[in-house]
Symmetry: D2
Subunit: 274 residues, 4 copies
C-alpha cells in the first residue's frame, strides 16, 4: 500500500524521460572531483554543461566530460554567456555538433539562455523568444530559461519550447522564489490544455526549502547550480536538494491542509481526565 | 567520502536518543490503520499520544496503543486539552502511571501543553511556566510547548524544561513559520551556553517546506500532526515530511549561500565561442 | 526650519511637472460624481483616461470629460484594451487628435499599455517595446506600463520611454508589491546615469501601505485606479492614498533606520530609580 | 460630502481623548531641539517620557519637560528600564507623584513596560501581567506594552489594562510588523465584546509603511520612537509618520479591495476603437 501511495510518473521533456526531478549545473565547483561527488549525491539524471570547446577544459587542462558518467547522466547543453539571438543559436548548434560527435544523446535538446546584461544575468525576453522560435524550428527540444513573466512564458510555449523554465530569482542570488503568484499564473497558463507540459524552476534557489516551495507550487522540476557548488559543504547540500525535490513533489501530490488564521485541536478536546 | 559528508549526530532529549528528527502526533486520523501507515512512512521514532484512559480508545473500541509498535516507537505522552497548571500536572502524572504500568519507556518524559483558550489553542505562558517548573521538580523530562516568545522560552529552560518547543503558528492552522525572527532569537538565547540544548518547532506546519524552513533556521527537530493526518493523502504527506526534515537538517549543516539582490554567473562568462 | 526639512522637488515627465506624485485612473466608479469626488480627495494633478470616442461617454450618456476639471487636472490618455503594437499606436494617435481638438495639454503624452491577454491583463513585453519605440519616434512622451522585468524596463528606456511604469502586481489584483527586489533592480538600472529618470509604480496597489512601500523603495510616483474606485468608500480611500504617497515619499527622503533582529533601548537604560 | 466621508471618532484611553492616533517617545534624539521639532511635525498629542528624577535631565542639564509644551501634549509616563514587577510598580508610582506635583494630567495613566532582558528588550509576560494587575488595582489607567502573544494580551485586558500595546517587533529593531496574524487574533480577542477597546501597536516600527500596515490591520494607534529619532532626518520622518497613521486609519475605514491572483480591467475592455 505504501508503494502505491508514493507512486509518481516520470518527467518527460522532448525525447527524454527523467525519474529525478532535479536538474543540476556543473559550473563554479572548486574541483572536478567535488563536482562529481555532488552530482552523485544530488541523485540527478540530467546535468547541464556550457558546451563550447574552450569551456570543456578547466585551468588544469582536465575535460569536464571525463567527470560526468555519460551512462548515468543525460547531458543538457546550454547557451550560458549568450546575449543575442544570433549568439545563442550559434552556441546551441555548436553544442549539438560536439555532442553528436561524441555520440551523446543530449545532442537533440538545449537549455536556452539569452541574457539581458552581464551584471544581473537576467534573461532578455525579446531575444529569448526569437532564439527559441529559431531553435525549435531547427528541430531542437528547447528548454527555455526565462523570467517569471507569464506572458513571455506563454509566448515561449507558443513558439515551440519543449519546456519553460522561469527563474525564481536572479541567477546565483540565492533569493529563492520571489514571486510565487507569477509562477502560479505561469503554471495555470501553460498547463491549461496539457497538464503534463513541463515547467521547471531554474535559477535563484538558495537552500532546500526553496526547492520544496517550487515543487509545492506545482513545478515539474528544479534546475540549480550555485546553491550546491558554493555551499560550505557542496556534497551535503546536494543531498539536501535531492531530499527537498522529493519532499516538495510528494507534498504537492499529497494535497496539503489549507492555511487558516487558527486551526483546530489535533488531539481530541472533549475528553475528561480519568 | 559521501558517508562522512552526511554524518549527523542524533537528537538527545532527557534519557532518549532519536535518529529521526521528526516527532509526530497520533490524533485526527480517519482510521487507526491510516495512522499506523503514516507513522511508518514518516520515519519517526517518537510519537506523542494524549495518554488518558478514555482517549486510548476510539469510537469503535480499538486501543490506539495496539497500533503503535512499542519496539519501534518511543511514546511521548502529552497533556493536550489542559488549560490550567493543576490539570496539566495531573494529566502528566496519570500518563506516567499508565505508561509505567505498561512498562513503556515513555513514562519518564512528557510533552507539556497548557492552553489559553479552546478556540485558538494558543499556549498560556503563565500557566505553562508554572506547570513546567512543577513537573521538572517532580523528575519529568519536560518537552514544553510554548509560543514563539523568546522570554518565555528562556524562562522555561531556566525552570528545568528538557526541551523547549515553540510554535511556528497556531495548532492546526497550517500557516507555517510566521515569525522566523523570534525563532532565531530563541535559538540564540537557548543555545548560548549549550549548543545541544534541544529546540523543537511544534505546531503550525502545513506542508513540507515549512519543515525545511524550521530546520534551516537551526531547530533540532519538528513535531507535527494535522499536516499529515488531514492531508488528502496522509501516507504520502508523511513521506514528504520525512524527506523535508532531512533536507532542512542537511541544508542547515551544509552552510547555504548568502542571499543577494542579484548574483553572479554560474557558468564561466569569459569564454568566447569557438 | 520645518518648511526646509520637508522641501521636495516636483516630478517632471516630458513637458509636464507634477507636485502630487499620485496619478489616478478614472475607470470603474459607480457614478461620475463619485469619480469626481475621489479625484478631488486624492490630491492628484494627473488623471488617466481611455480616450476613445465611445469610451468618453457612460451608459447614461454623460461625457467623462465634463467631470474632470481641465484647469486642475492634466489628462493622460491611455491605450487600455490594446493587445498589439498596431492597436496601441492607433489608439495613442486617436487620443492625441481628440485632445488636440479639445486644446488639452495632455495631447503630447500617452500612457502606453499593450496587454498579453484579457484574463490577467498582464503586459506583453515584445509588443510593448515595439509600440514604445514607434510612439517615441513619433514625438510622444511615452509613459510605459510594463511588468517588473528589469531587462524590459531597461529596453523601454533605451527605445525612448519618458517614464517606465512597472506593475507591482496584476491590474486590479490588489496584491500590492509582489517583488520588491525586481523594483529595486529597475530603479538601480534606470537611475544609474540620471537619478531623475521617472519610475512610477503602476497597477496592483490594494491599500495605502502598498503605496508607501512603493515610494519607500524609491519610486517617483504611483498610478492606481481600482484600489480607490472599488473600495467600500472610494472618497475616503482616495484621501488615504493621498496621505500614503506623501508618507512614503518623505520616509524615503528621511532615511529610515536599518532593520535588525533586535534593537537597542529607546529610553536610556542606565538610570537608577530615584 | 468630503467632510462626512472622512469623519473619524477620536481615540479614548482611560480619561484621555486623543485626535491624533500617533503616540511618540522622547528618547534617543541628538538634541532637545530636534526632539521638540520632531514632536511638532508628528502631529502627536501624547508623548511618553521615562519619568524618573534623574532622567528628566540630559547631560547638559536641560530638563526634558521644558521642551514639551504641556498645553499641547499629554504626558504618558513610562516604566522603561524595569525588569521586575516590583521595579515597574515603584517607577509608575514615582512618575505619578512627580506629575501630580507638576499638576500634569498625565499623572493618572502609565505606559507599563517590564522587560525580560537587557539585550533584546523583549517584554516579560509573567512580570507584566502581575504588574498590570497591581497598577490597575491601584487606580492607574495602564497602557500595557506586551509581545504579540494573544493569550497574554487577553490576560492583560482581564486584569484591568486600559489599553493593550503589542509589539510589532523588538524595540528599536525597525523590523516592522513581523506577525500580522497574531495581531489579527489579538484584535479579534480584545474587541469581541467592545469594539472600542484600544489596541495600540508599540515598538518595532521602522518606516512609514509599517505604521500604515498596523493601522490597516485594525489597530487604534501606533506608538514609536527610534524610527523617528534615529532617522537621517528626524523631522521629515516625523511628518511621514503623521501622514502614515492617517493613511492607514482611513484605508482601514474605507474598506480595501480583496487580494486576488489577478484582477479585472480598470478601464472598460469591451470598447472598439472608433
Amino acid at each position: 500500500m505504501t508503494t502505491d501511495a508514493l507512486s509518481d510518473s516520470p518527467l518527460k521533456i522532448g525525447s527524454h524521460t527523467l525519474t529525478s526531478r532535479l536538474l543540476v549545473g556543473t559550473g563554479r565547483y572548486d574541483t572536478m572531483e567535488q563536482m562529481r561527488d555532488s552530482l552523485d549525491a544530488s541523485g540527478t539524471e540530467c546535468v547541464t554543461v556550457a558546451v563550447r570547446r574552450e569551456r570543456l577544459y578547466d585551468r588544469t587542462g582536465q575535460n569536464i566530460l571525463d567527470f560526468i558518467d555519460s551512462d548515468r547522466y543525460i547531458l543538457l547543453p546550454n547557451t550560458a554567456g549568450c546575449y543575442t539571438t544570433a549568439d545563442a543559436v550559434r552556441a546551441a548548434k555548436l553544442g549539438r555538433e560536439i555532442l553528436r560527435t561524441l555520440g551523446n544523446p543530449g545532442s537533440d535538446w538545449v537549455k536556452l539562455e539569452v541574457l539581458g546584461d552581464s551584471k544581473t544575468l537576467l534573461p532578455d525576453p525579446v531575444e529569448t523568444v526569437a532564439a527559441c522560435e529559431q531553435l525549435a524550428a531547427d528541430g531542437f527540444s528547447v528548454l527555455c530559461y526565462t523570467s517569471d513573466c507569464p506572458v513571455t512564458a506563454q509566448r515561449l510555449k507558443k513558439v515551440g519550447a519543449a519546456a519553460v523554465m522561469p527563474a525564481g530569482s536572479p541567477i546565483g542570488s540565492g533569493a529563492g522564489i520571489l514571486n510565487p503568484a507569477n509562477l502560479q499564473i505561469i503554471l495555470e497558463y501553460l498547463k491549461e490544455d496539457d497538464e503534463d507540459y513541463p515547467v521547471i524552476i531554474d535559477a535563484g534557489v538558495g537552500t532546500a526549502s526553496d526547492v520544496s516551495v517550487a515543487m509545492e507550487l506545482g513545478a515539474d522540476g528544479v534546475l540549480l547550480n550555485t546553491a550546491i557548488a558554493h555551499a560550505r559543504e557542496p556534497v551535503r547540500m546536494a543531498h539536501a536538494m535531492r531530499m527537498a525535490v522529493d519532499a516538495g513533489r510528494h507534498a504537492a501530490l499529497a494535497g496539503r491542509i489549507p492555511k487558516r488564521l487558527y486551526g483546530t485541536a489535533s488531539s481530541p478536546q472533549e475528553g475528561v481526565i480519568s
